[in-house]
Symmetry: C2
Subunit: 264 residues, 2 copies
Amino acid sequence: MRAALLLIGNELLSGKVAEANLRPLAHVLRARGVGLQRVVTIADDLAAIEQEVRVLRASYDLLFTSGGIGPTHDDVTMLGVARAFDTETVEHPLLAAVIGKKYGTRCTREHLRMALVPNGAELETTRGTLARDARDARDASDDLTIPHFEWPAVRIERTWILPGIPEAFRMKLEIVAAALARDPMRAPFVSRAVYTSVEETALVPLIDAVVQAFPDVEVGSYPKWFDESYRTKVTFDGRAYARIVEAANWFGRSLPAGSMIREE
Amino acid sequence: MRAALLLIGNELLSGKVAEANLRPLAHVLRARGVGLQRVVTIADDLAAIEQEVRVLRASYDLLFTSGGIGPTHDDVTMLGVARAFDTETVEHPLLAAVIGKKYGTRCTREHLRMALVPNGAELETTRGTLARDARDARDASDDLTIPHFEWPAVRIERTWILPGIPEAFRMKLEIVAAALARDPMRAPFVSRAVYTSVEETALVPLIDAVVQAFPDVEVGSYPKWFDESYRTKVTFDGRAYARIVEAANWFGRSLPAGSMIREE
């Protein structure tokens, strides 16, 4: 199962804001055996969002978007995703009911913009998919009186439309994790790392040997600059737990005596 | 002038390592009036690198790659870029001379892998493009005895092939900045921000008004969660300095009395 992430936001491309959502998403996915394989960062641009979602949703099993959902003119993700699904946005009755209840008589057209989702989108909570009918809408708006009411996440088919604000993104990841947990279990990715005092270039023959001996293990090598504690970190990744451990041990034992610093 | 960035590395997609090169590149580019418009993150995969470089170099004025250059099996960026330019990698005589001089009799085949660049690539320093002939190679290797010898950056046409390690990437950015500075001057991007205690939804009519009054200014709005100091940050970006300042001032003056917290 392969996933892609579409990061949407002028503030990311201008370097004003540091991207913070990729890593927590990657960790949630890997724990459920889903590999994040492609991340694309684009501006808050309607045409670009539409085109990118079209391409990514056709090529990956799961797509996550982050950013561009909100009440202002530059929040065009919902419409961009809708167009990529050959549809438009509609007011979701359940979201509209929840927003109406929250703001009461202060509720404006701008607040209700937050209820617009691609036609056909569904609302997800940690407990599962919410139904769309009017009674459920009433039930959900009643939930607002509950202290731990959970704002749902928006999903259309296999595309999750998530907020860009990192705190909000992380809350929604709990819903994603719950949905993946309801799927048939896939073996999670596991990872081992060996830290050594040998410089990377001198390790090449040994790394080539472990790559050849363990073709099912993904081997990475990362030299460290400006750090006295080690010179090279060699990583072992994959789904087959026993093979990962075996490859890391094999590599560690093959290092020159005294040059293994630690294993993680 | 539009730029794209290709981030290459399994460690980025797995969430093991936090990406750290986008922001410093964006800042260098914006200061020289170049907008970063697309960032793509992919694995250390030869075919993926080739395909992505083909697409991005055809669509953008400048392309930067980050990562996947080094001596090990997973460092395939040089070959991927070479193939995207319909060529192969060759040992650059100048780089080979520098490496040979640095390692002396300890120099191995693995060290010399670091001298492989796409056929046709050039070496850049803060002082300009280095020539390729043998005498220059001797001169450059002589430079190794100089305390501040500068390891050159590799460029082929308008594609810069930069290292992934953030410390090394930043060193190379000085070379990129120097190259851009030799180009005809473009107006740099400027940015202003107004911080207000008004919540984003209530700001929508005012934001729409400033967007309409200043169509040449890029207006962004960012609600802040879990921060007591302000509710919404509204940003004004573009190349026309006077217009940016005017738009920010216009917006600040139009806010409800007492709700402007600060301007930056």
